[in-house]
């Protein structure tokens, strides 16, 4: 979230799209309804009418996978009706930047496309630059090659007629939403967008969100109270686990993972540290080397020295251009290239797409280590439906992990608040915290290497990890400390002092920090800010519900990021009624200002300090699949032609090929129905926790499929019947829920049915049904490889024999 949960109340218009907020984040609706109480219009754009829609002013059903068409139409409407916030757009975004001569777009493809490799040469999308390398700009926005004009041209095709035909949304509904949300382009109005997996789980997921950001930038809704682009995070600490980089492609704090081509720390720094010659751009990432060295010092302690590149050589290097995302890792496993796996708190046999393939591939492991609270479809795959345990040679280690109330530590909420939770009871039985398990496991391996030696033992032996897992001590280390007496930014520190904030991290080895973003959360010994429970705030802060003294928030306790864009160049808030920050002539009041220093008109810097140019990117040359979002059909589509271009799917998709990865044809008559999958309030994701809580299972006991009365009639299905849903990859049984909340769509003049299913039910809980993901395809967004769970093709019929739902 750029903003935070409470801030939703400050909105004048709330667009919930790609999220079922009331069902999956019920607490968010406390704040949505407060916005509504204050007069905000609340709109839900989603394929089905849900408990969210029930409490909105307007529900707009749209065909799953057509968000770019819908939002592209909104962007066009905003430009045509001059609803954008002009000063914001010219001063704070790259709308005025002039594009270089190589940029082009034709029939669904951007310039630089390599049809053999299915990649773009992104250099073709660069801006025209002066001799110092600074981008050329036309602040009148009139130059035909400036971003603003290119934008206009690109989205000219997204007319209400066209969008209506592709999305299935009535023109009247389109215009109501466009007008309502477009009205927040006034400087003193704000609209928020709340999204979740309904936007990410598409082959165009990243571009869905980019287009939403572009609209928010045009409307001046980023950096203001009641605005922002707000990802409603679905896991208890997915914000924190991403910040700390439980991911192959980054190191903690969003530093890129080292590539094989970056053999030395200097190579790495050169390749990953952006440069600009524009003196007004803060270009915060120029500090990257300080964060990298502090991380290496944290990992390897005294063994990391200037002479050995702080142990950079000990870190694994990945191949440039190679993909290691979970879909690809499991494909490697299926192809028997993997031998061992460690799964902690994760149930891929239930939650990954095409689970028939995942379940089969697990048997290719020599060994598997799991840390879990309950048995799951993954822990017990070797005795799953249709599996003969005697034929599965995988050795399985299941380690009992304790639960939240049985350990202390911090998690980070969706608004980036880092909060401490305390241990209340002892871990049940012999269970242990995952932190303790990992620590002990590491030391068991390390002891073997210390005794026997082995392949390249240096990184293992030099890893500075205490033998006993202590969350308080680790929290201090995450913040970071000084490794020697030194002076930084004119301030003297002693060896062992905590680092006051990441502004004091250095690249010379005098500081450590396991994640620079969190530096400042534990600024002194005994001062763990994540434990703060203080409600005090200034009247200005109280007005927007900021709570700056409750817990702590990264970065540097800034509650609303990009807040420098919420004021004009003189530091005056765009909305004087609900200011986030304001310049009083000498200092900033309100939230912690982004970047520090005076407003722009007084020599201050551009507001988007994390971007090299200091301007937010309406034109985004960094994404692999294009600088401007373009509508492509889902990998499996009921259409035979993309109405927007002759490019049917996202051209950059890297298709995973195996005998178990089949795809329905475009407009496949065997599978004419669109399937979308989702979670539900009473269960949590794949259901491994919640299915074991009997009071929750009582409320939602079995797998169901929601469908329209029209489809049910067509298929001879009655409410409550057990039906069979079939894709080209698998079959699933579910109970039919025939409802007015799902409607057929009229797409390009043809009726398209959509059904929806949760994925929380699995065979380890008897009689509740089994994984919906047996239906879904292994294909995902080419930027991040999140799978396309939200749109695939199936057929449905009444089951002749009930096999999965006897309860």
């Amino acid at each position: 979230m750029t903003n935070h949960w409470i801030d939703i109340k400050n909105s004048n218009a709330v667009l919930i799209m790609g999220s079922n907020a009331a069902e999956h984040h019920p607490i968010s609706f406390k704040w949505v309804l407060r916005a509504r109480d204050n007069g905000a219009m609340v709109i839900h754009v989603d394929p089905k009418f849900s408990r969210t829609s029930a409490r909105c002013d307007l529900h707009v059903p749209l065909r799953s996978g057509t968000d770019i068409a819908f939002l592209g139409g909104m962007l066009l409407y905003i430009l045509e009706k001059n609803l954008y916030q002009k000063d914001y757009v010219t001063e704070y975004t790259n709308a005025s930047f002039i594009l270089g001569k190589d940029y082009g777009f034709k029939d669904g493809l951007f310039s630089g496309f390599d049809p053999q490799k299915h990649v773009y040469d992104r250099k073709k999308w660069d801006f025209a630059r002066d001799d110092k390398g600074v981008s050329l700009r036309d602040k009148t926005l009139k130059d035909p090659r400036c971003v603003f004009q290119v934008l206009k041209k690109h989205y000219a095709r997204y007319t209400p007629d066209m969008v209506s035909k592709v999305t299935g949304v009535s023109k009247q509904n389109l215009l109501t939403v466009y007008e309502t949300f477009g009205a927040t382009g006034k400087p003193d109005k704000a609209g928020t967008m709340m999204y979740a997996l309904g936007w990410t789980q598409h082959t165009v997921g990243v571009q869905n969100i980019r287009l939403a950001c572009m609209i928010q930038l045009l409307l001046g809704n980023i950096g203001v109270a009641g605005g922002g682009i707000n990802a409603l995070r679905g896991e208890p600490n997915v914000q924190g686990s991403t910040d700390h980089a439980l991911l192959w492609h980054i190191l903690p704090g969003y530093m890129p993972a080292p590539l094989a081509s970056q053999q030395t720390l200097a190579d790495y720094n050169t390749a990953t540290t952006p440069k600009t010659n524009d003196p007004l751009s803060m270009n915060w990432w120029q500090n990257g080397p300080k964060y990298t060295v502090s991380l290496l010092k944290g990992w390897f302690g005294d063994a990391a020295t200037k002479d050995n590149d702080f142990g950079y050589a000990w870190t694994p290097k990945i191949e440039p251009g190679e993909e290691y995302s979970n879909m690809f890792m499991f494909d490697r496993l299926y192809k028997k290239q993997m031998k061992g796996a460690i799964f902690f708190g994760h149930n891929p046999a239930q939650s990954m797409p095409n689970t028939n393939k995942i379940r089969k591939s697990l048997a290719n492991l020599e060994w598997m280590v799991m840390g879990e609270v309950h048995k799951t479809e993954t822990t017990d795959f070797w005795r799953g439906p249709g599996v003969d345990p005697k034929k599965v040679d995988t050795e399985v280690f299941l380690l009992p992990s304790c639960h939240r109330g049985e350990k202390g530590g911090t998690t980070t909420n969706s608004g980036r608040w880092q909060m401490w939770h305390y241990k209340g009871i002892e871990p049940m039985g012999l269970s242990k915290s995952m932190g303790a398990i990992y620590t002990e496991l590491f030391h068991a391996v390390r002891d073997l290497y210390a005794k026997e030696g082995g392949a390249f033992p240096d990184p293992i032996l030099n890893t500075d990890l205490p033998r006993q897992y202590d969350p308080e001590q680790t929290a201090m280390k995450v913040n970071g400390w000084f490794t020697r007496d030194c002076e930084v930014n004119g301030k003297k520190f002693k060896k062992g002092d905590q680092v006051p904030s990441f502004a004091f991290l250095t690249a010379d080895g005098s500081t450590t920090s396991l994640c620079w973003l969190y530096s400042g959360g534990y600024p002194e010994v005994g001062k763990n800010l994540s434990k703060r429970r203080d409600h005090s705030q200034t009247p200005m802060q109280a007005k927007i519900g900021l709570f700056p003294n409750f817990s702590w928030c990264w970065p540097v306790n800034r509650r609303i990021i990009y807040n420098r864009a919420g004021v004009d160049v003189h530091g005056k808030p765009f909305n004087p009624e609900l200011p986030v920050v304001a310049w009083d002539g000498k200092d900033w009041a309100g939230d912690v200002i982004d970047g520090g220093g005076p407003p722009m008109a007084q020599g201050g810097k551009y507001p988007f300090i994390m971007l090299t140019e200091g301007m937010s990117q309406i034109f985004g040359p960094g994404r692999v699949d294009g600088p401007l979002p373009e509508h492509y059909e889902p990998a499996e589509t009921p259409l035979t032609k993309n109405p927007f271009s002759s490019q049917m799917n996202n051209p950059i998709i890297r298709w995973i090929m195996s005998d178990m990865d089949k795809f329905a044809k475009h407009g496949d008559p065997r599978y004419p129905i669109v399937l979308t999958t989702y979670s539900l309030t009473e269960h949590w994701l794949s259901g491994t926790d919640s299915r074991n809580i009997e009071v929750l299972l009582e409320a939602e006991p079995q797998l169901y499929v929601e469908m329209s009365h029209e489809l049910a009639k067509e298929k001879g299905i009655q409410n409550g019947d057990v039906v069979e849903i079939e894709s080209i990859r698998g079959k699933v049984q579910a109970v039919a829920m025939v409802t007015v909340r799902v409607v057929p769509f009229k797409i390009m003049g043809k009726t398209v049915h959509l059904i929806g299913m949760p994925f929380a039910f699995g065979w380890t809980t008897p009689g509740v049904g089994d994984s919906t993901n047996r239906l879904t395809p292994t294909v995902g967004d080419p930027n991040c490889y999140i799978p396309e769970y939200k749109a695939s093709l199936v057929n449905i019929r009444k089951a002749t024999k009930v096999t999965e739902l006897e309860r």
């Binding site: 009331a22 607490i27 406390k30 009582e698 006991p701 409550g720 829920m737 025939v738 909340r741 309860r807």
Partner: protein, 244 residues
């Protein structure tokens, strides 16, 4: 001053936090359920389900209305069930004067199943349920233990949208009137259900009969043709020997 609830269904998202919080506070075991084509589960109130969110959906002039009704005992100001029970065994059902909570005591164990059924029939909202395992009559007790300790009932505490409020009766009546005036701007048919008669006041946005079979209330005569006096006399009969 007795207490009251205001349940403003215009704010309810049917998250069922109340339904689960009730079970958790009461340590009620789960009951076995099946999916039958609705989110409403378990299908009805029961001895282990004092609170149940009911779901009803309608298509109205191109608009979908999904109506949520977090059902529970209304804690009537003049409870029919208590009237019926008093006729059988005084003290089996009592009304706590401090809170207005209508409480089923363990004396309901002395009821025969038929007597319990007769008392059940006295409830216009069809709320009490016979616990066959324990052999007693059950329903929501307003979390009297919590209320006496200065806390709000578990369902109210957990409610995340402000659907449920609990407090002094005057304050709830005032809040109800204010909310009704506000909600009426969007939903002209909005109304408070029986505010003069019950301690659990629902604010609904549509006609009351659309919510569920007993939202409308009903007359308490299970036997057609029998008048009220005959009915009450029938209730009294079986306990005569006990008293006499």
């Amino acid at each position: 001053m007795p207490k009251s609830f205001l349940i403003d269904t215009s704010r309810c998202i049917a998250c069922r936090g109340c339904q689960i919080a009730c079970k958790e506070w009461k340590n009620h075991p789960a009951v076995h359920t099946k999916q039958t084509g609705t989110h409403q589960n378990p299908p009805d109130l029961g001895p282990y389900n004092f609170k149940l969110v009911r779901f009803k959906e309608y298509k109205m002039k191109n608009r979908v209305e999904w109506l949520f009704f977090p059902e529970q005992c209304r804690h009537c100001l003049e409870p029919g069930c208590k009237a019926g029970a008093d006729a059988i065994l005084e003290g089996a059902i009592i009304k706590d004067p401090a809170t207005g909570a209508v409480i089923y005591t363990d004396l309901t164990k002395k009821f025969t199943p038929q007597q319990a059924e007769d008392v059940r029939a006295m409830c216009p909202y069809n709320v009490p349920r016979w616990d066959t395992k324990e052999g007693k009559l059950t329903k929501c007790d307003m979390c009297i233990d919590r209320v006496q300790a200065g806390m709000v009932p578990a369902c109210v505490k957990t409610c995340c949208t402000g659907t449920m409020s609990f407090g002094e009766r005057d304050a709830m009546l005032k809040l109800g009137a204010e909310r009704l005036a506000e909600v009426k701007k969007t939903f002209p048919k909005a109304q408070l259900l029986d505010p003069e008669d019950v301690s659990v006041i629902y604010l609904v946005t549509e006609e009351r009969k659309l919510y569920h079979d007993f939202a409308e209330g009903r007359a308490p005569m299970p036997v057609p043709g029998m008048n009220r006096q005959e009915f009450l006399a029938k209730l009294v009969k079986p306990v005569r020997p006990l008293i006499g």
